[in-house]
């Protein structure tokens, strides 16, 4: 396979993407310790002080000193962000102020205790989520973590110390940290420090030593911390080797699948799988197979399954729940589909005998599969605690049951059957009466399910016994073989009702899937034919509201990337109006879901799902389900994401249709404008040429002074019209926008010389001087356009200044631009007109005999602005006006200077 030593291209790409993502992010440094008191905060503050002295902008976000004087001393002289005072159940608590930190935006911020849980009602439930946001904002963070807070080690440490920590940190946060520094202290020294009161205040210390800080605990914790750090170093080494292509053996990536059940220790199973996946560097899936049997579990147990799946998601797994009639085949089919190489299952807690009769899933799997199967041991006492604090609590209520009717029906049917049988008993044999009751039980089971079925069978047995079996009118049975009949009836009722329940379930699943496929298909059809964003919003939200039984709103950003309140009337009846645009904006900016059931502001009743399209986020989908379960089952979640993706795609499609249409219209307009302009310019210039030529030919021909003067006047007027036509055409072209500049790198003196030459005759009455350094850099500009600017400026100077005065053209470079000026010795600009003369149809004098309509300077400004420069006018101290314009310098193309000596 890949044994040629070349790095895998996908891995390289992944690395590049990772590097890019990291470049903009802040860096996270974790001071990692085995237990409280080893000196993490002390080490963090010391490191921060060093950076502070080097001039870094260091701010203390929040630091717990726990009354330790050594640590408190280190805080002196550091900038401290005032904590947010939060009132919680009558107590005032100091919390880290995330918004203040983001607003302050220091280079480095210190945030102690990464695993800390925020007070309810904060933006994020956990402090590490605050830190993620700080990192995303490009702020470096120093923080501290104890080994017992790592999610995957949580239960192991709980087992060792007997103290279960409820505040946990997902391992991925730890693994993705840019730097981890181990703060280590041998157990004896730690205990010594503790006795000296350096860690806890004396009375606390006494208690702590007796419970948590036993020497055995401390050694075990220290070992775990060291080993965890070593693992990280090992991973870094491996990454380094992958980068350097030292690795000769390429291992196919493992994929691990854990099968989650409703058992008590399923969360433990998931944690074990997470650890295994991490050590194998494997992707992993967590799967729950919902068989008919499992479907009958209580609501509480089912919620537990979903919570376990969410925990798996937290720990980095992809989660799925699969409907299927049999556990093992469903599991295996899925495993094969997903190329799973290793299976993790829980050990069965049933007795050997039970397993002989019916093998446990684990036993079945081991006998049927050719992949590795890991069986995780059973520790029932562990599972009493559930450290699921990071999974948001969902309040799930049981759906209303309408089974009571079934029991009533069963009783009524039983009574009817008994009456009918009483009439028939003289004609029929008793066996047939039993058949009648059996039919009743079957019908009730089919119609109303198991409970009423069993109820009906019991009633039937009772009624049959009471009314038809001798002795009648009594529940005693003379013939023992009737006991067998009763038992048979019960068994039949149970079997039938189980069968029907499973049929019902399959039918329901099939219906549900069909509905899902149909709703997706329908949505796809409608969304793909929608022509406007409004239509997409309307159809999309109506469909979503139906499928998820929710109130829905689709929020779109405006041109400044700010999420807008939806327009009323767009959505129909299900419009969600109680929106928090702040959360929606957060979801849009961070490209992550927020609100209900997420990590960000989970207390909100509305889920904000970003509409992610291939090119960018197109908006935010706000959904307020009538029952959170409708959204948070894995399939429903996936369905919602699919819907969101479809809507986003449709929005993107409409967007690009609009862009394409706009471009087409622009192109067409541009084409039309160009052909119109060149037609007009040809049609105007050709007769003007005739007029000018003819009048010029007339001059000096007749010899009559009167005629001569008339011919000269005609010639002069024709010239004026010509100047006007040129300006009007220029203005029309510039005004229409989309002027394409024909830029080349060239020296400015060329166009200055060219312009002066073409104005030679008009300039004859003036003295003209140029002051241009010989080594001006090349500048990229459209020579024709800049020559028009100079023409206009020279024309102005000639028009507004008396003969014999000086006109000076200068150029020089300032920083990153070239400045060109045309100055004169005329009367100067009227006060206050320096800016307005660049407006269209504005002239220095209101009424004037001088030709021109005031377009020249407006044209100049349009041209210079198109070049990215500035143009302005001012009066000179020594009298006269000066017009200046600038052009950006840029980097001229390479030029290889020829050797000066010829060869």
């Amino acid at each position: 396979m890949n044994n040629d030593g070349r790095p895998d291209p996908d891995a390289l790409l992944e690395k590049v993407q990772r590097n890019e993502a990291q470049a903009a992010r802040g860096k996270l440094k974790i001071f990692f310790g085995a237990c409280p008191g080893v000196g993490k905060t002390y080490a963090m503050l010391s490191a921060a002080r060093v950076l502070r002295e080097q001039g870094r902008d260091v701010v203390v976000g929040i630091v717990e000193t726990h009354g330790r004087s050594e640590t408190a001393r280190l805080l002196e002289g550091l900038n401290y962000l005032p904590p947010k005072r939060v009132n919680y159940q009558g107590r005032e608590l100091a919390e880290f102020d995330l918004d203040a930190a983001l607003a302050r935006k220091p280079a480095l911020i210190l945030v102690d205790e990464l695993a800390h849980s925020n007070v309810a009602g904060s933006r994020h439930p956990k402090r590490w989520q605050d830190v993620e946001e700080l990192l995303a904002a490009g702020i470096d963070v120093y923080t501290t973590v104890n080994v017992q807070h790592l999610e995957s080690l949580n239960d192991i440490i709980g087992g060792i110390t007997g103290v279960l920590v409820r505040e946990t940190l997902p391992d991925r946060v730890f693994e993705q940290a840019d730097e981890v520094t181990l703060v280590d202290l041998p157990a004896d020294e730690l205990l010594q420090r503790m006795k000296e009161g350096k860690i806890y205040l004396p009375q606390q210390a006494e208690r702590a030593i007796r419970s948590f800080f036993r020497k055995g605990n401390l050694i075990a914790l220290r070992e775990l911390a060291l080993r965890r750090t070593a693992d990280r170093v090992d991973a870094q080494m491996r990454e380094y080797r992958a980068d350097q292509s030292i690795s000769q053996v390429w291992q196919a990536k493992e994929r691990l699948m854990v099968c989650v059940g409703p058992g008590d220790d399923s969360s433990r199973l998931v944690r074990s799988a997470a650890r295994l996946a991490a050590s194998l560097h494997a992707d992993w899936l967590a799967v729950y197979v919902e068989t008919p049997k499992l479907l009958r579990l209580s609501e509480a147990r089912r919620d537990k399954v979903f919570r376990t799946l969410r925990l798996a998601q937290e720990l980095g797994a992809e989660t799925t729940s699969l409907p299927g009639s049999e556990l093992v085949p469903t599991l295996l089919t899925y495993a094969q589909e997903r190329n799973v190489s290793k299976l993790v299952v829980g050990k069965s807690s049933r007795s050997m005998l039970a397993r002989l009769i019916r093998p446990s899933p684990a036993d079945q799997l081991t006998s049927q599969v050719d992949m590795d199967v890991y069986i995780v041991g059973h520790h029932p006492e562990q599972s009493a605690h559930e450290a699921l604090s990071s999974a948001p609590e969902l309040t799930l209520k049981a759906p209303p049951r309408e089974k009571r009717a079934g029991y009533a029906w069963a009783a009524a049917a039983c009574a009817t059957t008994t009456l009918a049988a009483a009439g028939l008993v003289n004609i029929f044999d008793l066996a047939n009466v039993i058949m009648l009751y059996l039919l009743l039980v079957v019908l009730i089971s089919i119609r109303f399910g198991r409970g009423p079925g069993i109820f009906a069978s019991l009633l039937s047995v009772g009624a049959f016994d009471f009314f038809f079996v001798d002795p009648r009118q009594s529940l005693t049975v003379a013939d023992t073989q009737y006991l067998f009949t009763f038992a048979l009836m019960l068994v039949v009722a149970l079997v039938i009702s189980n069968l029907t329940a499973s049929l019902h379930y399959q039918a329901r699943i099939a219906r549900y899937r069909e509905r899902r496929a149909e709703s997706l298909f329908e949505a796809g059809k409608v969304l793909s034919s929608a022509l406007t964003a409004g239509q997409i919003i309307k159809d999309g939200s109506v469909r979503l509201a139906g499928v998820f039984q929710s109130q829905v709103a689709i929020l779109l950003p405006d041109s400044h990337d700010k999420i807008r309140q939806p327009v009323e009337g767009d959505h129909g009846d299900n419009l969600l109006t109680e929106l928090d645009l702040g959360i929606a904006q957060w979801a849009y900016d961070h490209r992550e879901p927020a609100g209900l059931g997420t990590h960000t502001l989970p207390a909100s009743p509305v889920l904000y799902q970003p509409l992610r399209a291939p090119m960018c986020i197109r908006g935010v989908l706000a959904i307020r389900p009538s029952d959170p379960r409708l959204i948070f089952q894995p399939e429903q979640q996936r369905l919602l994401e699919t819907f969101a993706a479809q809507i986003a795609l449709a929005l993107e499609r409409v967007h690009y249709v609009e862009v394409a249409q706009g471009a087409l219209v622009n192109m067409e307009a541009e084409r039309l404008r160009n052909s119109l302009l060149s037609a007009i310019s040809h049609d105007l210039r050709t007769p003007l040429t005739g007029l000018l030529g003819l009048s010029a030919a007339l001059v000096g021909r007749s010899g009559n002074r009167m005629d001569e003067e008339l011919a000269e006047a005609i010639h002069a007027q024709a010239l004026r019209i010509n100047a006007l036509v040129i300006n009007l055409l220029d203005m029309a072209r510039l005004q229409a926008g989309g002027v394409t500049l024909n830029k080349h790198w060239q020296p400015i003196e060329e166009v200055i010389g060219s312009s002066l030459r073409s104005y030679k005759e008009s300039l004859a009455g003036h003295r003209v001087e140029t002051r241009l350094p010989g080594n001006l850099p090349l500048v990229a500009f459209d020579a024709m356009m800049i020559e028009r600017v100079l023409d206009n400026l020279l024309d102005n100077a000639v028009k507004y200044t008396p003969d014999g005065t000086l006109i000076m053209v200068q150029a020089s470079t300032h920083e990153d631009e070239l400045e060109v000026s045309v100055s004169d010795e005329g009367p100067g600009l009227p006060a206050g007109m320096e800016e307005s003369i660049f407006e269209k149809f504005t002239r220095g004098e209101r009424e004037s005999s001088r030709p021109g309509v005031g377009l020249g300077l407006a044209i100049c400004r349009a041209i210079i602005q198109a070049h990215g420069g500035r143009i302005w006018a001012e009066n000179r101290h020594e009298g006269g006006a000066v017009f200046r314009f600038t052009l950006p310098l840029g980097t001229p193309p390479e030029f290889n200077e020829e050797e000066t000596e010829g060869s």
Partner: protein, 233 residues
């Protein structure tokens, strides 16, 4: 200009007033003019009248003026002056690249046209003598045989490229040379896109040969089109 009507000019132009004033002006200066209203007729006139110079309007009713120039260049080297009312410089460059020697933008003055005609006729007269030993403009003299350039008797040091550029301009004095043509002639075909080289070397030449490099009298910029060497001011 001698008053003889030995000089024949063919004008291909469909606009009557322009025909009329050109006829009035040119014939007053002793130049015989034949007018063709369409491109096709122009080709016939040029073939039969054997003119000394051709003036072509780019906007003709039956065919593009550039087409006309290409047809004539296929068999004749006579001077061609283009009249253009189009605003885009690209058309002028295309006409020059097709073989025209000069262009005038409408509206133009008769004096300017006459100056151009004179310049091109003189160039034509000198054409056989392109093996001349020296070339003079202003106070600058190029000695082709000795590869020497002097300005007011003082030798001017030019790099080989500067010299090559100056020779190309001098050999085509009076004619508008496009950027592309100059780059191709001086630097070779691979430099066609490096017009900044040409501009930098023109700056060097001007600094060495013009009295005021910012207001050149001989090494003239034709903005957006190319350069031209003018012998007299």
């Amino acid at each position: 200009m001698p008053g003889s009507s030995d000089v024949h000019v063919v004008l291909i132009e469909d606009d009557k007033p322009i025909q009329r004033f050109l006829r009035a002006s040119l014939e007053g200066k002793g130049i015989a003019m034949f007018v063709a209203e369409t491109g096709r007729q122009g080709l016939i006139e040029t073939g039969t009248r054997k003119p000394d110079l051709l003036i072509v309007d780019l906007g003709l009713p039956d065919m593009d003026g550039i087409e006309v120039i290409r047809h004539i260049r296929a068999w004749s080297g006579l001077p061609i002056i283009v009249l253009s009312a189009r605003t885009q410089e690209g058309d002028k460059v295309a006409a020059l690249d097709a073989g025209a020697d000069d262009y005038l933008s409408k509206p133009f003055g008769v004096a300017e046209l006459m100056a151009r005609i004179r310049a091109h006729l003189r160039r034509r007269d000198q054409a056989p003598g392109s093996t001349e030993q020296s070339f003079r403009f202003g106070d600058t003299v190029i000695d082709f045989s000795g590869r020497l350039v002097t300005r007011g008797l003082l030798p001017v040091h030019l790099t080989p490229t500067e010299y090559r550029l100056l020779v190309v301009l001098a050999r085509n004095a009076g004619k508008v040379l496009t950027h592309r043509y100059l780059l191709h002639e001086v630097w070779g075909p691979s430099y066609a896109e490096n017009s900044h080289y040409l501009r930098i070397y023109m700056r060097h030449l001007r600094q060495k040969l013009e009295r005021d490099p910012t207001q050149p009298k001989h090494l003239i910029t034709e903005t957006g089109v190319g350069y031209r060497l003018i012998i007299t001011d």
